[in-house]
């Protein structure tokens, strides 16, 4: 006990000061679409065939192109492995949370949208978050990891709370199956205005692989339209923190 305590006391502060740093090179990251020309027009359908989550769609309208819905992507990395032209490639950026659902649907040659922050956000310096888990416990663990000394969301003025009455933000993970829809509604109603809703993880955004079945695990939108969307399966703590800062209107999300 005593040597352990001494060792603990000697440990320096563990908090990672490299804010929203890119993921390590080991990580598969999330895909992005570059503007490198795609062979789709020549009949290449490899990525869409490989995609088990039906996230990649070959659009046939006016001008054929490929779209990739990060809200359905389970980050398996199969599309980036097969793409012969490097149109779909890996991005290890942790700044992937968005405020509009459409921004999650990537198109070739898209510029990564820079979020526009509300000029007067009520939560810029302080935000209390209530987390509701609806069936994706890896995301629960990553949200929990945001509170560990390494990521330490507390330093941005973010606290997690036990009561919806205290909360400003509702963070929802998991695909919101039928039996969780009513409890989620009640939780939302128990929160005082102003409030924001954040969907965290692919399962929360669309239900992921489990969508479209009898249990109606089709994501948060069956109950409420989120203000911030955080992709990832499960999202890395930095991605979650990026989403939280976005919800706060914290300028840290713009200036690196």
């Amino acid at each position: 006990m005593i040597p352990s305590l001494i060792k603990y006391l000697q440990t320096p502060v563990q908090t990672n000061r490299n804010l929203l740093a890119d993921l390590s090179d080991d990580n598969r990251g999330l895909p992005i679409l570059t503007d490198s020309p795609c062979h789709h027009t020549e009949g290449c359908t490899l990525c869409a065939e490989e995609c088990v989550a039906s996230a990649i769609v070959l659009q046939q309208d006016r001008e054929p192109h490929v779209t990739l819905d990060l809200g359905a992507c389970i980050a398996c990395g199969r599309c980036t492995d097969v793409c012969p032209t490097g149109t779909i490639t890996v991005s290890r950026s942790t700044r992937r949370a968005v405020t509009r659902r459409d921004d999650l649907v990537l198109k070739s040659g898209d510029i990564v949208p820079v979020p526009v922050l509300a000029s007067k956000s009520p939560f810029r310096n302080s935000m209390v978050v209530r987390y509701v888990s609806t069936g994706d416990n890896a995301t629960d663990m990553e949200v929990g990891a945001c509170q560990n000394p390494i990521f330490d969301v507390g330093r941005f003025g973010i606290q997690f709370t036990a009561s919806p009455r205290f909360a400003d933000a509702l963070l929802i993970g998991g695909p919101v199956p039928l039996a969780m829809q009513q409890p989620l509604r009640l939780c939302l109603d128990a929160m005082a205005e102003p409030k924001v809703v954040i969907a965290v993880g692919t399962q929360a955004i669309t239900g992921g692989l489990l969508r479209g079945r009898y249990a109606r695990a089709n994501g948060v939108t069956t109950v409420v339209e989120p203000d911030v969307w955080i992709p990832g399966n499960p999202p890395h703590p930095w991605l979650i923190i990026h989403g939280l800062l976005l919800a706060m209107g914290n300028p840290l999300v713009i200036t690196p």
């Binding site: 006990m1 390590s24 088990v52 994706d136 990553e142 000394p149 039928l178 399962q203 692989l209 399966n233």
Partner: protein, 508 residues
């Protein structure tokens, strides 16, 4: 060294037992020291059958018992009165298939909620959820009422205060003392088993990882074993070692996370901080090996894409050694802390006799003196790369469960190091293009919560017709409810954390 290795691949011994003899048969099996692995139902050409998986820890073998139900029968005689561990299985079968056990002592729904329409049984043939605005006519779920002067109820959940999964706890209390706890699950019932029969078998591996996504590696490996046993193929030793290493790394990360949770629940901030930092290091190793902190989308049946190269394996092994050293220095913060020990000792006791009756698995079982670990009961060669002890404590309290975890951490670090050093990079292409018809496969893994079973059956066209996942938590929930009886209300969170159960794995 055990001579007769359990062979996960190949046909299992299967036998037919008439449904009227099943109860007596299971009773003798359990008296003989065998385990009821899982009990479920399946559709046949002529109605339904009950499937029982019997695990023999002494004989290192697994058997399946099929019991045909008479044509059109929707009831059968309940097994629970003689075999207590069947009680949740039977409730689940009733929910999913509409087969009612007659004589079940406490029959009520388990995973299907009042929000689903009445007489909707997702797995029964021809089941479909009305798409129109449906009105539930279900008999509302009724909690057990404890009567007496001064007894009051404390409802908790389904949305919990912490960053944990949803479930409802109904405490009946007398003052601060818990007289009864009823656990209502099913809030995260997502229809995983039905989905697995609808998707292609190639994408099934991604779906099983979402069954309880904190056990991605465990589920992926159990799925791989089940699919390989279905097809009767084996993979190379390197692949098997890599799988075992992934399961061990997941165990290390999650056990450390549980210890951090125990520290947080007793208000010991230094401990939760130290363990939290250590857990991040383990997740870093998982990321290095598999490209994902939770090892998702990596392990596959029949083959292994992207075996890590030698440099990565060496790096992972050396990082594991470092984690082992850090663990040795950090564990005493909790395990030798007099205040913490006092808080955990005698708390939430699960008696060995009861633990046996309920068929507990995993660290909770080993803390109640049950000598059961799939890695020993169904031994495979990769787990014999080193000698390792099985961690057993007899007290059955929170302290014993913490000690089992602490002990297993050291074992798992050694095991994972040894497993990683024996992996040779040999590409093994997938040789399976279609699944055999009318076959059955079982995969059993000691995941970090305990015995995890996947059972897969194909129909005559080679499609997956039945997929059953038995999460380790399924066996242990009852133990949590029983172990807090007579304890104080404020002790419940600590007891709960010491069992550390999965809601989504149980609800599926």
């Amino acid at each position: 060294m055990i001579q007769n290795h359990f062979k996960p691949a190949g046909p299992f011994a299967a036998e037919e037992v008439p449904i009227i003899q099943l109860r007596a048969r299971l009773k003798t099996e359990i008296q003989d020291g065998n385990r009821l692995g899982l009990l479920t139902a399946s559709a046949t050409s002529d109605g339904h059958e009950l499937l029982t998986v019997i695990i023999s820890p002494l004989g290192h073998s697994v058997r399946i018992i099929n019991s045909l139900l008479p044509h059109d029968a929707v009831t059968y005689s309940s097994l629970t009165p003689d075999i207590p561990q069947a009680h949740w299985f039977e409730r689940e079968i009733a929910d999913m298939w509409g087969l009612r056990p007659i004589g079940h002592p406490r029959m009520k729904s388990l995973v299907m909620h009042d929000s689903f329409p009445d007489n909707f049984f997702p797995l029964a043939a021809g089941a479909s959820l009305p798409t129109s605005r449906m009105r539930s006519r279900r008999v509302p779920y009724r909690f057990t009422v404890v009567q007496g002067n001064g007894v009051y109820e404390v409802p908790v959940g389904p949305v919990h205060a912490g960053v944990i999964e949803p479930g409802h706890f109904r405490f009946s209390c007398l003052g601060e003392v818990i007289e009864n706890l009823e656990i209502r699950l099913g809030f995260v019932h997502r229809g995983v088993e039905e989905h697995l029969t609808q998707c292609s078998w190639q994408s099934a591996r991604y779906v099983v990882e979402a069954a309880s996504s904190d056990t991605s590696a465990g589920n992926a490996v159990a799925h791989a074993f089940a699919m390989e046993s279905l097809c009767g193929v084996t993979v190379s030793e390197s692949v098997r070692r890599l799988r075992a290493a992934c399961v061990e790394i997941e165990r290390i990360a999650c056990h450390i996370g549980d210890l951090a949770g125990i520290c947080a629940d007793i208000g010991f901030g230094a401990g939760s901080s130290a363990f939290g930092v250590l857990r991040a290091a383990v997740l870093g190793i998982a990321e290095l090996l598999t490209g994902s902190r939770f090892m998702t989308g990596f392990l596959a049946p029949f083959y292994q894409r992207g075996l890590p190269d030698a440099a990565v394996l060496t790096e992972a092994a050396s990082r594991l050694t470092e984690v082992g050293l850090q663990l040795r220095l950090t564990l005493p913060l909790l395990m030798d802390n007099a205040g913490a020990i006092e808080r955990m000792e005698g708390m939430g006791i699960m008696k060995p006799s009861l633990a046996r009756e309920f068929g507990l698995v995993g660290p909770a079982a080993r803390a109640s003196g049950i000598d059961y670990d799939v890695r020993k009961a169904l031994p495979t060669p990769e787990y014999e790369c080193i000698e390792w002890p099985i961690a057993i404590w007899n007290e059955g309290d929170v302290l014993a469960r913490a000690r089992v975890r602490a002990h297993e951490l050291a074992t798992s670090v050694r095991l994972a190091e040894a497993l990683l050093t024996g992996i040779a990079v040999v590409k093994q292409p997938s040789c399976i293009t279609r699944l055999p018809a009318n076959a059955t496969g079982i995969g059993i893994v000691e995941a970090w919560r305990g015995e995890l079973i996947h059972l897969v059956q194909t129909d005559e066209t080679g499609r997956i017709a039945r997929y059953k996942i038995k999460d380790p938590s399924f066996n242990n929930w009852t133990a949590l409810a029983v172990s807090v009886r007579g304890r104080l209300l404020s002790d419940f969170p600590l007891c709960n954390k010491s069992f550390s159960l999965s809601y989504s794995g149980t609800d599926l």
